[in-house]
Symmetry: C2
Subunit: 698 residues, 2 copies
């Protein structure tokens, strides 16, 4: 169902309308009038005939025409009745300002559930409760009491803002205005009893009037809708910048499997953001800089940065910042450098191209250098440091002409660093040039554009790229290592050839079958830490060693774990050296199954060097997860180690992720630790499956 | 020699004076006049009698009075003559605007050397050449042509700015003005033929009129003066914020020893900054935020942050930012929380303290909550989110009264987040309250204050804390492992009991002396990688194994390294398990000997997890270097490993650092790799010493 009635209503009723334009019930009306809303506005108030110059109605039933949108500016206890009246009037959407619902805890939850039931009965959509409403500047739709519209509306443009927090949303709206950001849509979602950030985002992305959206979120609801919206955004080349606060670890319920400590819900959220091509802003200013860049600049088509400067120092500073952001700063072609030097002997022609203060004496140098950088340097992104020249009464006009003409036919993102007035900045912005005072912030903004370009060009993962594995329903009762590994083998993840035996003589026979040297492990569903229990013997080379090891193992285990049920002995070949990985899945309470990969041992446990992705992942995505590990050099042949077959590791990652999705409802975590990767193949040496049930009963 | 004549001259001559106040020779005069400089101003120009209303002189010799400071605004080729004339006139200090010296390369170096000789002959100090001069607002001293003073001088205050780059320095000055930063001193050092950033910093720190200094640097000259200035700053509780650009690795000369790749000069510079309590700004904005905070706020006395907010979302955002900055956000006392809830049932009383929009109806809540946070919460730092209330015509005045009264008697750093006019911001600032729009930037600025507090409280390392080691002069010819280790033993770093033998039978005898199992290594100054050459045999358990190993070793080494001079065999005990460290020193071309410590193997080689410090370091500083390693958990008993004796490791680090200082002129690097640390002791298993000579001859 479209949110058209919410964003573009033809008629609006304000229940609890007030004559005082400073009050909650008065503000929306005042804003509607000021914005020149063309639809019908129906104030509802049983005690007045006229409100702010408009005819008022005693109740919603008395309104003569159709009502697309109703705004409820009334106290919590009156909401249920008013909502029912809206339903009877066939209102399509309701904006619920009223506080006093689930933000108060259990008691409020009960009240909020009542609202949901009423609106569902009538098929109405609700924004709120406990929200500040929304603003759509395209048609002057103002069902909001935010003070962020006091003193004027934002410049209309192609930016959307969505915020869960009302008060912080007002702060954002005010910041947007002071930065002249072209914000045509602003929505505060509040308690999200029905409509969430995700649905509002999808609506804005679907809208032809919006190119870029900033979201402020505290928690994620409806991740599937969010993913759908982000996929649409990527397909349409629209940028989504998300600021999510409340970074916290998942609860203690999943501590049993030690991947738990690494897959906190913020990490899962970050995985979602990375996967679907959105960008995460860590600060409000960073969000605004990205919104500014995307709303002003042409699209980036690469990440190579050209730096034009009149200060050597500023050039170095920007080159440093570019390196930190991962933007290459390649040199100008030799022939161009030679020409530039001949033309301006004091210049540094490489990149940064430093034309020095000499440009003040020979202003043509500015335009010529910029043209050379666009045409011969072929940079994708440009930044130019001109400090006070930008706002200078003597040089400002000439500089603007040179820069705007120089960049005009090239349609490249271009940031000018300088000090100037708001009016001069606006002039630059009107021709697609950004103006920054801090060079580092300009570089970060240019980098954000380049990263969006990369994300837009990345194909969404194709379902067909996923490995076809048998549909396996994992058992939810406790199972041992041997059984877990056999399940992994069914999924297509290699395991060592192994046999289960029950005594020393069978062990000797089995060892001879498998081939020496062998490893023997105790099988018991009750023993989590086999080594500590004396249940592991490594590198046994002959019959005698096997016999001795089994006898010792039974004795030691019986002493240390007297109550453990012993189901047998697992005989496996001693596996050669290689690189150990940990791969695992963990069910995030919001995002569903998340797949993790890391290098074994200290890399994961101490250095937390792991990569996460929402499951399922294709082989290609698994490869890129592996390659982005900090310790990747380890399996790429560093320190004289053999290069290992990461394709086989990626295959295991991909298969495990599909298995996790198949069992998303019942399995909490699966972990293969270690997965040993060698130059030719890969084997799962241990596996652990934890279901919801096993965790609850633990 | 004091720089008083430069910063506070009684008389100034401007050589190359111009009547045009827009020209290089005219600007300083115009600025002096506008600033109301009380001293004598002598324009020098052979073609004019009067310049900008002042009597002009044909040459410096004709000036009747004493000249403290001469400004040279003339072309490069005229500088030498003018400088000699200044010398003859007994001028104390010269500001040299002229470009055309060492910034042009070798040819310019020659010219600049000439200037140095002239000024040294007369005992004159030089600022420049190729600089923009300086500004001292206290007395209107303006020997500068920066356009940063166009349109007005900065607000006078207790901030100093020092910049190597002239153009970027002008940008900084303009930014300072637009932020109303109280900048009384600004210096551009240019080519630094004589006076450097370090000396200017020392002068500003010595000045009673300056509390906080921002430096923009491209390279470090005179690190000892810089260190002295930073030590004075710390002792005086003055803050130094340094932005150093041009982050680059040391040259290829030191690649032989692989610590080289980790001790680039930027890393050494960072070590200096960390060690002497300054702060490094990564961006211009961050530098300004720190300068702003330190110039507005009372000093921090701890790092516990109290967050007051009218928006739950903003509270969460600020708590996230605090965690990222390492600022604790402890809860309010239970009894206070109870009282706040009773007073304002909708509030969240913990910390963040969210008084909600309800405060608009009951304004006393603002002051009461702030007081409770100061007195009962006892926070060291406070931040309050009031968004548009700050600038609101309806509430702004009341809010200012409540906040300024609330904080007044507590003298704590306090940042208010809100949107307002410059005039309102200035009102807050005048009572020591900072105003920010972006909450994250406010938290970073508060954190900078807390970090300065920590740095100020840290005692400077006492020379007496250094270990007293015999003064050892290390040999500069190539020496082998055995000899290097014996030298380490002399320094007090334990090494294994070892013997040098020349054949298999001697090896067997020696192994029996030392005790089995033993390790045998080939001794040859020509073999850098013994294992690859077949020159290492481990874990030899009896006579036979020793004999066989020696025979194989001689054969293999002869095949693989036929030209190596073999000096014998080193027999050592096989050392038990432990944690391996790498400790090393490297001579930084600017900073002198730097000491490095890291965990062995992948930690150092792949993860670059090392800590650097300028040598020498005390035992206490070595301990804190070790504890700050990312992988520190490894030697603190993680993963079931024994806790190892890091005191012994720190002792080795400290001793090695003293040795490096003793041999700073001749030794390029010393590396102990590995230094094996066990629960009771520590031994150096290998050592490598490289002198300048061995590197040159390699």
């Amino acid at each position: 169902m479209s949110l058209k009635a919410l964003f573009e209503p033809a008629s609006v009723a304000i229940i609890g309308a007030s004559s005082n334009p400073a009050r909650i019930g008065g503000r929306p009306i005042a804003y509607y009038l000021k914005a020149g809303f063309k639809g019908d506005i129906y104030p509802v108030n049983p005690n007045r005939d006229v409100i702010q110059g408009l005819k008022a109605y005693p109740d919603i039933a008395s309104i003569p025409g159709k009502v697309d949108l109703a705004v409820l500016a009334i106290s919590a206890k009156m909401v249920a009745g008013a909502l029912t009246a809206c339903g009877e009037k066939d209102v399509k959407t309701v904006v619920l300002f009223s506080a006093g619902f689930s933000e108060l805890g259990d008691q409020g939850d009960v009240l909020q559930d009542q609202l949901d039931k009423i609106s569902q009965r009538y098929g109405m959509r609700i924004l709120g409760p406990n929200c500040l409403g929304l603003y759509n500047g395209d048609i002057g739709n103002c069902p909001t009491f935010t003070s962020g519209l006091d003193g004027g509306f934002p410049r209309n443009g192609r930016v959307g803002l969505i915020t869960q927090s009302g008060a912080y949303g007002t702060h954002l709206l005010t910041m947007a205005k002071s930065r002249r950001l072209g914000v045509s849509k602003w929505v505060s979602t509040g308690n999200e009893s029905d409509l969430t950030v995700a649905e509002c985002l999808e609506y804005l992305i679907d809208s032809d009037a919006v190119d870029v959206v900033g979201c402020y979120m505290e928690g994620v609801k409806k991740p599937k809708v969010l993913i759908r919206a982000l996929e649409k955004a990527r397909a349409a080349g629209k940028a989504v910048i998300i600021m999510k606060v409340g970074v916290s670890e998942v609860g203690s319920k999943a501590v049993q499997s030690h991947t738990a400590s690494l897959t906190g819900s913020d990490a899962s959220f970050q995985a979602l953001i990375d996967q679907y091509g959105a960008q995460r802003a860590r600060t409000t200013e960073q969000m605004f800089d990205s919104l500014y860049a995307f709303s002003i600049s042409p699209r980036a088509e690469g990440n190579q940065l050209g730096i034009l400067t009149v200060s050597g120092g500023a050039g170095v500073l920007m080159a440093d910042a570019a390196e930190e952001e991962g933007l290459p700063v390649p040199p100008m072609p030799d022939v161009t450098q030679k020409r530039l030097i001949e033309r301006n002997p004091l210049c540094a022609p490489c990149n940064p191209v430093d034309i020095t203060g000499n440009a003040l004496n020979d202003f043509d140098l500015v335009g010529e250098s910029l043209t050379a950088m666009c045409e011969e340097g072929q940079y994708d992104l440009l930044v130019a440091f001109f400090t006070s020249w930008v706002g200078s009464p003597a040089h400002g006009e000439k500089l603007f002409d040179a820069l705007s003409k120089g960049i005009k036919k090239h349609k490249k993102p271009f940031a000018v660093i300088g000090q100037s007035t708001e009016a001069i900045k606006e002039k630059y912005e009107s021709v697609g040039i950004m103006v920054f005072e801090d060079p580092s912030r300009a570089i970060v903004a240019l980098s954000a554009l380049a990263k969006f370009n990369t994300a837009f060009n990345q194909a969404t993962q194709d379902e067909e790229e996923l490995p076809a594995i048998t549909n396996i329903t994992l058992p939810t009762e406790k199972i041992g290592e041997a059984e877990a590994k056999l399940l992994m083998e069914k999924v297509g993840i290699p395991i060592p050839k192994e046999e289960v035996v029950s005594n020393a003589e069978e062990a000797v026979k089995s060892a001879n079958d498998i081939g020496f040297p062998v490893v023997i492990k105790i099988i018991s569903p009750d023993i989590a830490h086999k080594s500590e229990a004396g249940g592991v013997a490594l590198n046994l080379e002959n019959d005698e060693e096997v016999r001795a090891a089994v006898n010792l193992m039974f004795k030691t285990v019986a002493e240390r774990e007297p109550n453990a049920k012993i189901e047998g002995l697992l005989i496996s070949p001693m596996i050669g050296d290689g690189v150990d990985f940990i791969i695992g899945t963990q069910r995030d309470p919001i995002m569903g199954p998340v797949i993790m990969v890391g290098l074994g041992g200290i890399y994961t446990e101490i250095l937390k060097d792991v990569r996460l992705s929402l499951a399922p992942v294709s082989h290609a995505r698994a490869i890129s997860m592996l390659q982005s590990l900090r310790g990747a050099a380890i399996f790429q042949g560093a320190r004289g180690q053999a290069v290992i077959n990461i394709s086989a590791v990626a295959d295991a990652v991909s298969r495990l992720s599909v298995l996790a999705v198949q069992n998303a409802d019942t399995i909490d975590s699966i972990e293969i630790n270690p997965l040993r990767a060698m130059s030719n193949n890969t084997v799962a040496l241990d596996a652990l499956i934890l279901s919801n049930e096993t965790i609850k009963n633990h």
